[in-house]
């Protein structure tokens, strides 16, 4: 297949998409230089507790991923963020700040996403009120210290999940839907009900987008089995009362009436935004003007970046994506990269 055995692919990012891309390329017989800003593989998977829709342990998934990466063809260069790709005599040069770190014949960018900084939605009081947390913070608490979710030493009485924080919102310049927050809210609501069976859990949503396989079923399970309450209305403001509980105001749009509830925890289901370490490609803007995510030359047909021979994107650096989707995208990008090297 490949005439020159010395071809090398660089994969930037070691989250689900990067893992999948690196493993696939290695399996296809190519040497992979693998970069990540962190010292370990997994990316945000390291911080998750259970994965939707079937509540698989994130650690197990990570372990399975890790088992695949032990091949001799994968060369890890972790602990350094690649943020720039230069072109030099047909080689792609990887830069970290202004330092050359390596080079490759083809690069797969899998730098993932960042979570939206909830302080930008000041009306929810995140960063001001202790009882307002974000979904990844809840994930962390569930994973490492569920006891920290008690309120004044007691099981919390009321918990609210606020959907669409940092999504679908012109006020903060993010008009797209982050897609995964809905099901995250459903999953975490169930977990809270299991942890604190006496607790009322209310999800405030605008539209419930349970698009993935098993998501709608999880939604129904949350309603029926776990009695999670769903109220159709976006939370308008959160304020703190004297007991440091949070008072929320929303409209119940199905009743057409304003609504108020006092809760012990508010969980903001924060959306996904482009990673601050997203790779910039020299002399070219390959990002979507509207969203800031990387954009494929033709999203219908593949992962190639426009005007950038040899550079491919994979996973959530191209927009909000679930873990299986990111992994599949990494696999696909690796095969496209191989195809590119063969045809070159």
């Amino acid at each position: 297949m490949l005439e020159n055995e010395n071809h090398r692919i660089a994969v930037i990012g070691a989250g689900p998409a990067g893992i999948s891309a690196a493993v696939t390329a290695a399996e296809l017989g190519i040497d992979v230089d693998w970069y990540d800003k962190a010292d370990q593989i997994g990316g945000k998977l390291n911080d998750y507790y259970q994965l939707f829709p079937d509540r698989t342990s994130a650690m197990n998934v990570l372990q399975e991923f890790d088992n695949l990466t032990g091949t001799a063809r994968i060369h890890k260069h972790f602990g350094k963020a690649i943020n720039h790709i230069e072109k030099n005599n047909g080689r792609l040069v990887l830069m970290s700040d202004h330092e050359t770190v390596g080079s490759a014949d083809s690069v797969i960018v899998a730098t993932g996403f960042d979570f939206f900084d909830a302080r930008n939605k000041e009306e929810f009081g995140y960063g001001m009120y202790n009882q307002v947390i974000t979904s990844p913070e809840l994930e962390q608490k569930l994973k490492t210290n569920p006891d920290s979710l008690k309120f004044d030493g007691e099981a919390p009485a009321n918990i609210a999940f606020v959907h669409c924080v940092g999504s679908r919102d012109q006020q903060i310049g993010i008009n797209y839907c982050s897609r995964l927050c809905c099901v995250t809210g459903i999953k975490q609501a169930i977990e809270m009900r299991e942890l604190f069976p006496s607790c009322r859990v209310v999800n405030f949503y605008i539209d419930l987008r349970a698009f993935g396989s098993g998501y709608e079923e999880l939604y129904r399970e949350a309603q029926e089995k776990h009695q999670v309450q769903f109220i159709r209305g976006r939370v308008s403001e959160a304020s703190e009362n004297q007991q440091h509980r949070i008072v929320l105001k929303a409209e119940d749009t199905l009743m057409g009436r304003p609504l108020k509830i006092t809760v012990d925890w508010v969980v903001l289901l924060i959306g996904m935004v482009p990673s601050c370490t997203q790779v910039q490609v020299a002399d070219h803007q390959c990002t979507d003007q509207e969203t800031g995510f990387l954009k494929a030359a033709n999203a219908f047909t593949g992962h190639r970046l426009d005007g950038q021979p040899g550079i491919f994107m994979a996973g959530a650096c191209g927009g909000p994506m679930s873990i299986p989707e990111a992994a599949a995208s990494g696999k696909a990008a690796a095969t496209e990269a191989l195809q590119y090297l063969i045809n070159r």
Partner: protein, 350 residues
């Protein structure tokens, strides 16, 4: 992406101001605006000019839908024309609704230049004047915010309970039209504006964050101005007062003249109708404007700055801070003669 709102700062010109007065403030807080001018001129050494020819901005008429948009715009253009004629570029509005409306008009002109042209034509036709937009457009409370530390350095009193040494608990109420209409034009944005909090903390007090902090005072324009509609108005203030009551605030301050008046008057009405009292020791909570608060810490005489025009008596608060005043001069005229006294409202001593 935008910055965090609470970090939002805006440009506030440092001198040479053209001042436009507020209808409501002049009526109900008659000492406040002259006090503000005096602080600017004599305490901060600034130049501030008031043109006798300026008028109402028509804001209340606009928001009660008896003055159309283009009329309001032309009246505002006339104020800008006066400012230009006198050689000023920095405008200070006393009224929060005026400030909001000026901001709104400037924003609409930016997006619809043809509308600005049309208004220029109206102004020329009606008055023969031409105008220029101000370079800097702020609310009076922005100026005090800018110079809060200078004021603190020359202050005679602090917002501290003389007996206990504790900082006073101060509720800040921001007029809705200050930052809700254009968050980027308010110090600190629309959710948690810093403009009054900055004054409170710089002058020794402590801000109270209570659940209904961001709720409207309930003026509601037509919902107050027409007598049978006033239930709406008082109900909104009641929501706020009930929400702040458990925090036992010593004082409320507001930068909007309407809010200051309503939070003051509705406490009286709520006591009369429902027997409800929201302060401690059976007292109501005094309500100050930002100018009055500055005047108080700077040691102005309480009666010279108009604190006797409040329905909620202020003496308990003055005593708490240790402000000197002569009770005999409260209801006197300029020459010191007693004008007569309003019907007295009970005041309790803790």
């Amino acid at each position: 992406m935008k910055q965090y709102w609470k970090d939002y700062q805006k440009e506030i010109a440092d001198d040479n101001y053209f001042y436009v007065r507020s209808c409501i403030r002049q009526n109900f807080f008659p000492g406040a605006e002259n006090l503000f001018i005096d602080i600017l001129k004599n305490k901060l050494g600034k130049t501030v000019f008031e043109d006798a020819e300026h008028t109402t901005c028509t804001g209340i008429g606009y928001h009660t839908d008896v003055v159309p948009l283009e009329t309001t715009m032309t009246v505002i253009a006339r104020q800008f024309a006066l400012m230009k004629e006198k050689g000023y570029r920095n405008m200070i509005a006393s009224c929060v609704t005026s400030f909001g409306l000026y901001s709104e008009v400037l924003d609409m002109w930016k997006h619809q230049p043809e509308l600005k042209e049309k208004i220029a034509g109206y102004l020329m036709e009606a008055t023969g004047r031409t105008f220029e937009e101000p370079e800097n457009m702020v609310h009076a409370s922005d100026i005090l915010y800018k110079y809060r530390n200078e004021i603190a350095s020359i202050a005679k009193y602090k917002l501290i309970n003389k007996t206990t040494g504790e900082p006073l608990k101060v509720v800040d109420h921001i007029g809705c039209h200050y930052a809700k209409t254009f968050p980027e034009r308010g110090v600190g944005g629309s959710e948690f504006p810093q403009v009054l909090t900055g004054l409170i903390t710089a002058w020794g007090g402590q801000t109270v964050d209570y659940p209904e902090r961001r709720h409207c005072c309930g003026f509601g324009f037509r919902n107050y101005l027409v007598q049978p509609n006033r239930g709406y108005s008082i109900s909104q203030s009641k929501i706020k007062l009930e929400s702040m009551k458990p925090y036992e605030p010593d004082l409320i301050i507001a930068n909007c003249p309407g809010c200051s008046m309503f939070l003051d008057r509705w406490q009286y009405t709520l006591e009369e109708t429902e027997g409800a009292v929201y302060g401690t020791c059976g007292n109501k909570i005094p309500v100050f404007t930002h100018e009055e608060l500055a005047g108080l810490v700077l040691g102005y005489d309480p009666w010279e700055i108009g604190l006797q025009t409040h329905q909620v008596p202020v003496e308990a608060l003055l005593d708490k801070i240790g402000v000197e005043y002569n009770p005999d001069l409260k209801y006197t005229d300029r020459q010191g003669n007693l004008i007569g006294e309003p019907e007295l409202i009970n005041q309790h001593v803790c």
